[in-house]
């Protein structure tokens, strides 16, 4: 059976956090302390990752969105602010479309709408994604640095990158789950339905993102009726490591839609 591990921190309006490819809910470790000062922050491990289990090893973002609804049910939350990052952002789009009544506001971080109109990363990045599935956890974490972080962070904040890697290695994920999440991301296709997202939305993206090119954020913000766009200069894919102040901004966005 599918069993999901979730955690709740802080009090206030609930925020559901949905993490990206291969990462557990623990990967929100920089963001949770900031948001939980004024909000109830709910994190969970996506199916097959961390302490969560999956019944089948084939996923879709629709299935992952239903998992997110199950977490809200288990937490006793009728409606929440939702923050999805990367693959989690795709799941958050599905959640906002499939269960609009459960989403008060939405933050889409470093993500894309899927389908043929999504702007794809370079061949070098795609080749890395394919290689990574069969790499040892530590090798993969180190090899992903040039793709995950912008040049400025790699130059000036090696300590933060080292902290991220250390945390990531504490929660390794099975290769099978990684491949299943890759399939979910490849199948994801919400472009035509973005106009149906009714929740106020903040689209956040690093200008130097190599994993998900920034043009995808512009596309999301154009298509979603109530979207604002926040592009972070000098930031790559993992922007909250590079520019931690953005978490304060995201907390203010959620608090503005109480």
């Amino acid at each position: 059976m599918t069993a999901l591990h979730w955690e709740s921190t802080g009090t206030g309006d609930p925020v559901l956090m949905i993490m990206g490819l291969g990462l557990s809910g623990g990967a929100w470790w920089r963001t949770v302390p900031v948001l939980s000062r004024s909000l109830r922050v709910i994190t969970f491990d996506n199916r097959g990752v961390g302490r969560s289990r999956a019944r089948f090893h084939s996923y879709t973002t629709e299935a992952m969105a239903d998992d997110a609804v199950s977490v809200l049910d288990a937490a006793g939350v009728e409606q929440a602010h939702v923050y999805g990052f990367s693959l989690g952002g795709m799941v958050a789009q599905q959640l906002a479309l499939r269960r609009a009544d459960r989403v008060r506001s939405l933050v889409l971080g470093a993500t894309h709408a899927g389908g043929p109109r999504a702007v794809r990363p370079s061949d070098e990045v795609i080749a890395f994604f394919r290689r990574r599935a069969s790499m040892a956890a530590e090798d993969a974490a180190r090899a992903s640095v040039p793709f995950n972080y912008g040049p400025r962070c790699r130059r000036e904040h090696k300590d933060r990158i080292a902290e991220d890697i250390q945390r990531r290695l504490a929660h390794p994920f099975p290769e099978q789950a990684y491949r299943a999440q890759m399939v979910a991301a490849a199948l994801h296709n919400c472009y035509r339905r973005l106009v149906r997202i009714a929740a106020p939305t903040l689209v956040v993206h690093g200008r130097e993102d190599r994993m998900v090119p920034v043009a995808n954020a512009e596309m999301l913000a154009e298509q979603i009726p109530r979207a604002e766009l926040r592009i972070l200069d000098d930031a790559g894919h993992l922007y909250s490591t590079e520019q931690p102040d953005v978490d304060e901004e995201i907390a203010r966005f959620f608090l503005g839609w109480r």
Binding site: A63, P116, R192
Partner: protein, 69 residues
């Protein structure tokens, strides 16, 4: 070759209609599962709902991919 806007709209409506039917069908299966007092019938209904959703998700993704191309 691009479809005319009218045909494109009709196809889009058909795909969205199918999506809504699948969504309702899954909800119905889950409601039945919750009401079902016996195992393994409850698990089978939940598994069928998951399977319906995931097979349709692949079909819908493919259909929307074609419409967007």
């Amino acid at each position: 070759m691009p479809l005319s806007p009218r045909i494109d709209e009709v196809l889009d409506a058909v795909v969205n209609g199918y999506d809504d039917i699948i969504h309702r069908s899954c909800d119905l299966q889950r409601t039945l599962a919750r009401a079902m007092p016996f195992e393994p019938a409850r698990s089978i209904l939940n598994a069928t709902a998951d399977l319906t959703r995931d097979i349709a998700a692949v079909q819908l993704s493919g259909a929307r991919w074609l419409l967007d191309s």
